[in-house]
């Protein structure tokens, strides 16, 4: 048990009749980068609020660094950093004032732990006198992360830090997380972006308050049970509908400029070319591919329904 930073066992939470999460269990090892992957309404935020002691579970038990989330909430608050989904800083305080404020609350100073936040804070330091409310999305995110880190937490909880953030800032953010992990911090991060799952050591895929799957991202991909192909033709719009008419079809989904096509059994190149040519498609490209997390997530969603 000593190797674990976070343990959550059979935890459920209802809001009135609404079951936000149901029998959630998972464990996060020390210094792991753990991802909670799922769309809005899958229960990610409820899990964070329970682990950060802001919400009581209806049933089940959870511990953070050995402390119980109900009994030992004070101890947990001292050792956790939490970046909630909504921008949590004071808009009418400056960048520096916000940081100062969070440092003071935790009984420390900016100087004492500056080393930990330096790489991140240095990027917004030129704007330290600007009001937090006037920052751009990417800068707000860096400030919020700095504030969550200023007391040198053992565990960092990040609730959708990259939602609404552009592709470039998202990449930079994940580079920052990898660096923080190297400083020995355990990180639990949630995201609706499926591509970010691959950047985690381990992930829990969540949908409607339940866990669809838990594993290392590579293993989740290996468990995908169908042959999967990438298909292109000159008429991408009809291609999805036509592939859905194929006798062995499991699914056909658009992925950027290609279609991912899953089938019951292996499909021969000639067979699919003939099938699509009969339907009027030209310039057909067809090849087998390995699935990504989004393929797996959609397959698991379907099984669940």
């Amino acid at each position: 048990m000593r190797d674990f930073s976070v343990l959550i066992n059979q935890v459920s939470k209802n809001y009135g009749d609404v079951k936000a999460i149901e029998n959630i269990s998972f464990s996060v090892k020390k210094n792991e980068l753990y991802g909670l992957i799922g769309p809005d309404g899958s229960g990610k935020t409820t899990i964070f609020r329970i682990l950060t002691t802001l919400l009581l579970p209806n049933t089940g038990r959870a511990t953070v660094e050995g402390f119980d989330v109900v009994k030992d909430y004070k101890a947990i608050r001292k050792i956790s950093g939490y970046m909630p989904g909504r921008f949590s800083l004071y808009h009418d305080l400056s960048v520096e004032e916000n940081l100062q404020f969070y440092a003071t609350i935790f009984g420390t100073t900016i100087q004492e732990n500056y080393d930990l936040i330096k790489d991140i804070y240095i990027q917004i330091e030129p704007f330290k006198n600007r009001k937090a409310g006037k920052l751009s999305g990417g800068m707000k995110q860096k400030l919020a992360l700095s504030c969550a880190l200023i007391h040198k937490p053992k565990v960092l909880f990040l609730d959708e830090p990259t939602t609404g953030v552009d592709a470039v800032s998202r990449k930079e953010f994940w580079e920052m997380l990898k660096n923080l992990q190297q400083r020995g911090i355990t990180i639990i991060v949630s995201t609706p972006y499926m591509d970010e799952a691959a950047l985690c050591d381990k992930v829990a895929l969540l949908q409607k308050g339940k866990i669809l799957s838990i594993d290392e991202p590579e293993k989740i991909v290996q468990q995908y049970e169908y042959p999967l192909y990438q298909v292109i033709s000159d008429d991408m719009y009809s291609l999805i509908a036509d592939l859905n008419d194929y006798p062995d079809v499991i699914s056909a989904h658009r992925f950027g400029d290609v279609i991912h096509f899953a089938t019951n059994q292996e499909v021969k190149n000639e067979t699919i070319h003939g099938f699509l040519a009969d339907k009027g498609h030209q310039h057909i490209e067809f090849k087998k591919i390995t699935p990504d997390i989004e393929d797996c997530f959609m397959a698991l969603m379907k099984n669940e329904n």
Partner: protein, 245 residues
């Protein structure tokens, strides 16, 4: 691609918007064609929101000519507003009104008559297969449903253009694709779709894509030409190359 001027639905010439010394939109020039799906991409803070506010008639440019649906954004803002629809992830529907009430409310704002509202509402409820849910509060619907409904309501008054500001944020991957099917159908019906997104795979679904960097449009073309121009295997790479400089 249609380029003759009769089919241009959004015309932007030398658009500049300044806030004090800060140049949020730096001489933007682009056209959007009727029935096109136009992807409007850019990093946070690049100036997208400023430009969208101008195109929606909510903010006047500092200089430049901008026409939306044939109307001038300086003088004819009310006409602009009547001819567009708008939906974003942040603002969509009133949570404490029912589906029916939301439809009636938004349709009423756009001045549709009671009979037209009734008729179109029935069509809409049927096509989304939610007739039985019409008296349900929006707050009790799953997000995916809300977003699909919000989109349908944004085009309920049959605008010439619909602006979608990050419409699919946080939506599950299957619903996200269903949402894009609705976008295709809308464009096929002749309504122009102007859409922003942070999902780079969605950039591939647009007819043309513009990418804003520091207040300027640094690239504008079809996804396939952009990929060739920037020697990139997907739009994610194009975006990274441009936005990281």
């Amino acid at each position: 691609m249609k380029t003759n001027s009769e089919n241009i639905i959004i015309k932007v010439e030398n658009l500049v918007k300044k806030f004090g010394d800060f140049v949020a939109n730096d001489n933007l020039c682009f056209n959007v064609d009727e029935g096109e799906i136009f992807g409007f991409l850019g990093a946070n803070g690049a100036g997208k929101t400023t430009a969208i506010k101008i195109l929606c008639g909510l903010s006047a440019p500092t200089s430049g000519n901008v026409e939306v649906a044939g109307y001038d954004v300086y003088k004819q803002t009310e006409k602009v507003k009547k001819n567009i629809g708008y939906m974003s992830q942040k603002f969509s529907l009133y949570e404490n009104l029912t589906i029916k009430e939301n439809i009636r409310f938004f349709a009423g704002i756009y001045g549709l008559s009671g009979n037209v509202i009734k008729e179109r509402m029935n069509e809409l409820l049927e096509s989304l297969q939610i007739t039985h849910l019409k008296d349900t509060l929006i707050s009790s619907l799953p997000l995916g449903w809300k977003q699909k409904l919000a989109f349908s309501i944004a085009i309920f008054h049959k605008p010439k253009i619909v602006f979608l500001d990050e419409p699919t944020g946080g939506v599950d991957p299957i619903t996200r694709r269903q949402f894009w099917n609705m976008i295709y159908e809308t464009a096929r019906s002749g309504i122009t779709v102007f859409v922003t997104t942070h999902y780079m795979d969605e950039a591939e679904y647009c007819d043309r894509v513009s990418i804003m960097v520091d207040g300027r449009i640094d690239a504008l073309d079809t996804p396939s030409v952009l990929k060739k121009t920037y020697d990139a295997k997907n739009m994610d790479e194009v975006f990274l190359k441009l936005a990281r400089g």
